[in-house]
């Protein structure tokens, strides 16, 4: 297990290094001058030149990369070019907000969709199965901005049951915070439910039709024991992989939801930083999302290997 972990972590570090090179080059390939972006198109050229020089963006690319990556390794993410505050401060707040929203969405969608998938598989071909499968698929197919607007209009403006503003008072208790996060997490639940439920349903059906299930049933085990101990354990493996990859999406890719609900997560922060050509923020932001993806995948691999010994044993060969 340790060797397996060490290999995965080493691979993750190489991936991160590659990501750092790509994002550095990509962000510098963005058109336009940093000083001009910060000061606006109508600024005096002298002011732009002075600013470019003081920001160090007129130095050779390699020098800038080494300077940045050196700082990054030491834990210094630099200062935001447009906001003049430490990047770490902005990123931590964005990441914290994104994690909160992702957690609320996860807590709702994961049990709900696994249950949906399991029920659909156990009731295959029935009305319930069709409702879950087709309903889930339709919800997934709808873009988030459509479901967001519909939910806001319905739950917040017409029925007034959920607050639209994610502007939680700073001293609010955890329940109030969760209450404010329910509405923005609902479109995510709609997007993810169909996907996770379908994967779970497929895994369940495959496991239900397998030889070991037939053996378990034939040797007289109770149906409940068969489902929980044999079917579910095998059926959930693809679900775990899907959930893990969705973690990255939930934490780095929610620009649309964050914009609709004006939620200051890391997605919106990255979007702003690209528009502003704020190099330190773009680079550190993408690296952070990269780390989240890698950690989520690593955790998925570990839980995968715990559920299925063949995977961790394969690492020894």
């Amino acid at each position: 297990m340790l060797r397996f972990l060490a290999r995965r972590i080493a691979l993750a570090l190489v991936t991160l290094w590659l990501l750092s090179v790509i994002i550095f080059l990509a962000s510098h390939a963005l058109p336009g001058d940093v000083g001009r972006r910060i000061l606006g198109p109508f600024a005096d050229p002298r002011a732009v030149a002075t600013l470019d020089h003081s920001l160090g963006v007129d130095r050779p690319l390699l020098v800038q990369y080494l300077d940045w990556i050196g700082g990054f390794i030491r834990g210094d993410l630099g200062t935001s070019l447009s906001f003049h505050v430490p990047v770490a401060q902005l990123l931590l707040r964005g990441l914290g907000n994104s994690v909160k929203l992702a957690l609320v969405a996860f807590v709702i969608v994961v049990p709900l969709s696994i249950l949906g998938g399991v029920v659909a598989a156990l009731r295959r071909g029935t009305f319930i199965d069709r409702t879950i499968s087709i309903g889930g698929l339709s919800a997934t197919a709808m873009p988030e901005f459509v479901t967001s607007i519909v939910l806001i209009l319905l739950l917040s403006i017409t029925l007034k049951v959920l607050p639209i503003s994610v502007q939680v008072p700073p001293d609010a208790d955890p329940f109030t915070q969760v209450y404010h996060l329910i509405l923005p997490s609902l479109p995510l639940v709609l997007v993810l439910f169909g996907y996770i439920a379908r994967i779970t349903r497929a895994g369940m059906i495959e496991a239900l039709e397998s030889d070991y299930t037939r053996t378990a049933v034939l040797k007289g085990l109770a149906w409940r024991t068969v489902v929980f101990r044999h079917v579910l354990r095998n059926a959930l493996m693809p679900t775990i992989a899907v959930v893990a990859t969705q973690t990255g999406y939930l934490i780095g890719g929610l620009v649309v939801i964050e914009t609709m609900f004006n939620y200051q997560g890391i997605g919106q922060l990255l979007y702003t930083s690209v528009a502003q050509k704020d190099f330190p923020l773009i680079q550190a932001g993408v690296m952070t999302v990269g780390v989240v993806y890698l950690v989520a995948t690593l955790l998925a691999d570990i839980s995968y290997s715990l559920l299925n010994p063949r995977i961790r044993l394969a690492g020894r060969e």
């Binding site: 000083g35 972006r37 607007i149 607050p163 609900f261 004006n262 702003t272 050509k277």
Partner: protein
């Protein structure tokens, strides 16, 4: 004056004493300022709601719903465009920041919605004979919102020498002061007087040190940066909490200098919005009391909402369609005139702006400016004449040209309307619409045809200089005309209105004839306010003044 405002004023006047009516006469004649009138009114025993109604009827204030009685206390939730950079008066170049700056900081004077300058930190000002030296008297007894530091003449001197300094990092005021004011030429005369020695005579100079030059907040002489830590200024509010890119909360400044105009509200809570639809939904759901600026395209619902007061201010913000004069297919002025004649301005204003814009005449001396010569005929659509001009120019077979512009608000739609109109006279326009950054970096100053967004200015000097002067830094049309350059100089040094008007008529005629720019409209600044909120004052520049705003009982 609007008819119902006049009716309300008449009704109030009927019930007032001779003394009170004399005060109203003074206000109507412009001999007393709004603040003086308010102060005087409360002394003679007039109630605040009555004063508010009189001020509104006299066109001196903005939204004060009739019967509104502002109570003391409370806070407002305000939706506002996300600031695009560090909160610092010197770096500011966007609405997101300037509106916030104006709550905590103040200017020598405030340029109101009618472009009148209201004394704030200066009590009076005057030029020398040729307008090359301006002397300002500075208000005494003013403290900063830290509660202790006094504001002095030295601060005023330091503020303007700083803003005129080209070596200052990120100095955004340079575009206002270049060629007007040089570093070191602002000096202290005595403890109450400051002298500005200008590079050249300038009749509109007071506007450049007013709230129209939003960078010009008076800061302590020893200011070195990090404004976002302190929000230091002499304004009616002070910093409570600022979360970058998210929100800012301000509290009432308990030591605000203007005793007779203390803020009603306990504080303001600004929440920043990147995208307009999210803010409009939040406003409609009741999470926001005020949304500082919205566009007609996204805010149709607000314009008709019975629970919303829309504050509608005409501004000089506009779109410039530049037609390159020195090379390419548009060098013949008859071709440029033909394109300008092909568009139906009224239809554009109705279609794109729902009427919330004013028709413009291809020059930037908009009718709202006191110096505008309104006798110059408005250019109207005339396709027959346009076709004649095309054939006179030998272009009756038409030609192809690419229009470059940016993905900002209604501009792409304007580009399409122009494309359709020009097609009728044989001009085949290809559209190249990019993000703002790419447009300004790559195409703006190097394109045969383009559309650029221009923000509001209290006087047309910048519009007449940078995009039109042969040496102008934003001259996308590459317009070079010695007569125009001479007229511009005459305009700038004209001090009084009649002297300015003598020149503006000539400038307007010249620009119509040469047509380096098509300016179809200048549009309004729209603010949405809940009915329970009163006293919010807005300006074309985007200042939203909450000093006398509050919640009605």
């Amino acid at each position: 004056m609007e008819r119902d405002a006049q009716r309300r004023l008449d009704a109030i006047r009927a019930g007032r004493s001779e003394l009170e009516n004399a005060g109203i006469d003074e206000l109507l004649a412009g001999r007393v300022s709004r603040r003086q009138f308010l102060r005087w009114g409360t002394v003679v025993g007039m109630s605040l709601p009555t004063l508010a109604i009189i001020l509104e009827a006299c066109g001196n204030t903005t939204n004060t719903p009739s019967g509104g009685n502002i109570k003391k206390g409370g806070r407002l939730n305000i939706g506002h465009q996300t600031p695009t950079g560090a909160m610092d008066p010197i770096l500011t170049n966007d609405l997101g920041r300037l509106t916030i700056l104006g709550q905590c900081g103040e200017y020598l004077s405030f340029s109101d919605k009618d472009l009148k300058l209201r004394p704030v930190l200066a009590t009076s000002w005057s030029p020398n004979a040729d307008g090359s030296v301006w002397t300002f008297k500075i208000r005494q007894g003013v403290k900063y919102n830290d509660g202790t530091t006094p504001m002095t003449v030295d601060d005023v001197v330091a503020t303007f020498n700083r803003l005129a300094d080209p070596s200052l990092k990120g100095n955004n005021a340079l575009s206002n002061f270049a060629g007007v004011l040089s570093k070191g030429n602002v000096t202290k005369v005595d403890s109450q007087t400051v002298k500005f020695q200008l590079d050249a005579p300038n009749g509109n100079f007071p506007y450049l040190v007013s709230s129209d030059n939003y960078n010009a907040i008076i800061l302590p002489a020893n200011y070195t940066g990090n404004w976002d830590q302190t929000f230091i200024g002499t304004g009616p509010f002070k910093l409570k909490k600022y979360t970058v890119n998210d929100s800012v909360s301000l509290d009432k400044n308990p030591t605000y200098w203007d005793q007779s105009n203390q803020p009603y509200l306990d504080g303001l809570d600004f929440k920043f919005y990147d995208k307009e639809p999210a803010a409009i939904l939040a406003f409609q759901a009741g999470s926001l009391d005020v949304y500082t600026q919205f566009s007609v395209s996204n805010g149709q619902g607000l314009l008709t909402d019975p629970n919303t007061t829309v504050i509608d201010i005409p501004t000089s913000a506009h779109r410039q369609i530049h037609l390159r004069t020195d090379q390419g297919p548009l060098t013949d002025k008859r071709v440029r005139q033909a394109i300008a004649l092909s568009i139906d301005r009224n239809a554009i204003i109705t279609g794109l702006w729902n009427g919330k814009a004013q028709i413009a005449n291809d020059h930037p001396i908009f009718k709202m400016y006191p110096s505008s010569d309104t006798s110059v005929a408005q250019r109207a659509q005339d396709v027959t004449k346009a076709k004649d001009l095309m054939s006179q120019a030998g272009k009756s077979a038409g030609f192809k040209v690419t229009l470059y512009t940016e993905q900002v608000q209604e501009i792409p739609a304007l580009a399409q309307l122009l494309q359709a109109a020009a097609k009728a006279i044989g001009v085949d326009i290809t559209l190249n619409i990019t993000d703002s950054g790419t447009y300004y970096d790559k195409y703006w100053l190097d394109s045969p045809l383009g559309i650029t967004d221009y923000g509001h200015r209290g006087v047309p000097n910048t519009f007449l200089q940078a995009p039109l002067l042969s040496t102008g830094t934003w001259n996308a049309a590459h317009f070079s005309n010695p007569t125009y350059d001479g007229l511009f100089k005459d305009y700038v040094k004209a001090i009084d209105l009649s002297a300015q008007k003598a020149v503006t008529g000539k400038i307007e005629q010249l620009l119509l004839d040469e047509t380096p720019l098509i300016i179809p409209y200048n549009y309004d600044f729209l603010t949405a306010v809940k009915k329970k909120v009163a006293g919010v004052e807005t300006t074309g520049m985007g200042h939203v003044n909450f000093r006398l705003a509050g919640i009605t009982s």
